[in-house]
Amino acid sequence: MRPVYMISGGITKFAKAHPDKDFRLMVKEAFDYAISDLPGLSREMIDGSVCSYFSDHFTRQLKAGAMVQDYIGLCPKPSKRVEGGGATGGLCFHSAWEAVASGRMEVCLAMGFETMSRVNTWKGNEFIAHASDTNFDYPVGGFYTGYYAMMVQRHMFEFGTTVVQMAKVAVKNHGNALHNPYAQSPGKLVIEDVRSSSMVATPLTTLDCCTMSDGAAVAILASEETTRKLCSRPVRITGIGCGTDAMRMADRPHGKVILLPHETEEDYRDLKYPGVHSFRGGRMAAKLAYGMAGITNPAKGLDFVELHDAYTSSEIQTYEDLGLCRYGEGGGFVDSGAPFMPNIDYGLDFKSGHWKSVPVNPSGGLLACGHPVGATGLMQAVFAFWQLQGTIGKHLRDATLQVANAKRGLIHSHAGTGTYITVTIMESAP
């Protein structure tokens, strides 16, 4: 396999609705941004693309990827669609990586979008719930927030995680987004705002959940030779991993923890794993990506993380899967302030903890940026790319969210109740 670099990226503003733009035009906007951001790169140099969008129901258009391909002028070059629920964007990024790593392409475009505004929220919830077993799950619950609520109830039971700790995640991510003009719902929140917003599924309130969005994002990946010619500040993809779990939450086993290099079996003697409280697929993805990138202690080896916070609860669960803290410590990790940006005043008092500061979702994450499914995993890649280039100030027109001296970051894309999960390690490559 050859080294692969990200050389440019672009995103549209994420919004509740973009009725003035269809999916083709949104991708075109993000694509044009990426092309114009790298002098020397042109449309003609792109050898092919991978297109990422989740739901044909939302788009009301089959083969939408083909329409994007022709709209941005890439016909008759190779293209395909990748779909894997909420992890669609992460899987698309990996597919583009494979195209370059294998030598099949010198330059590959990963492009993603979702237009979720074309139906009402309750119909959208119904579409999304069809991504659960339609024999045994959908007819009973029919609601993803309900599934995540059951998972976090068990996390609270096992580990003592609290709704206040979850609310702090919402305060963090909406607060970060105040400095991100691409974000859908920035806001200065207090814990009480989160707890007093309307209850969706106990204990998750509206502000514990991400929103549905319209938006697009693209990432352009290239071989080392092409990168050297074109890009003075490339970012190298040093690790990729993917993990899976059973579609039905009811089928999750109770076995042993998949250990990361810095953990021992002693750490989890009495923990039945993953149960419904943790994401085994996320742990598997992290283990593979860390192995490839040579990371032995993730909390020490990462400068920031952009993870799939569809819910405040799943952000806490994911800290543990990624090994930023031990299983069971996610709530305390929040209380310590470790995942917060050190230069922003959130109006919260932090308790001293033993964890190193690792800003998580400096962009505002899904909770505040929005979650146009097929674009989300690529949006994370773009923000991580800008962080590692040190160009957050240029692209966001505000440098507040620039993580100081960011050398290595992690992005994490997540589907279903943890059925497909991808982890990607990206490093600045001067």
Binding site: P19, K123, N135, S198, A201, R252, P253
Partner: protein, 159 residues
């Protein structure tokens, strides 16, 4: 040109939400011919007030939500009758939902654990006020008299 050659028109119009850009209402609905296939005996069981799980004939793994083949070893499973009493493994009360279930809110979802089963079963809990469900609470199965061949033909109440 013969004026008589023209497409017949109807009085039907289009629901319009906006003109800049033009936003119209598009209706779409579909009836599937859905087969439960190898999961069918579970739904037959519900008509007899039985809760059927499956047991792996190779490694012995026991599934409270049935599947035709074992996800641990790939061997074919055999049907068996689950006990009608279990405990709440986890729960939530939904105040919002997918369109099809909005009229049923608030409703309480539970994952049920059974003695001797390695996996869980998703169901509705009835007869417990929102906020009163607890992990570990004993529950028992009840069945609809008029079967709809849906997993909601069985639900749980406090034991």
């Amino acid at each position: 040109m013969r004026k008589a050659i023209k497409l017949p028109e109807t009085e039907e119009g289009t629901v319009l939400f906006g003109v800049d850009p033009i936003i119209i209402k598009h209706h779409y609905e579909i009836d599937y011919i859905h087969s439960y296939a190898q999961d069918s005996p579970f739904f037959t069981g519900l008509t007899k007030k039985k809760l059927l799980g499956s047991r792996c004939t190779g490694c012995g793994y026991v599934y409270a939500t049935p599947r035709g083949h074992c996800m641990e070893c790939g061997t074919k499973t055999a049907w068996f009758e689950l006990p009608l009493k279990g405990r709440i493994h986890t729960f939530t009360t939904c105040y919002f939902g997918g369109e099809a279930f909005l009229k049923e809110t608030p409703f309480t979802l539970i994952l049920v654990e059974f003695e001797g089963a390695d996996t869980l079963f998703l169901s509705r809990l009835i007869g417990v006020a929102p906020g009163d469900a607890r992990i570990g609470m004993g529950v028992k199965a009840r069945f609809l008299r008029n079967c709809k061949f849906k997993p909601t033909d069985v639900y749980f109440v406090p034991a």
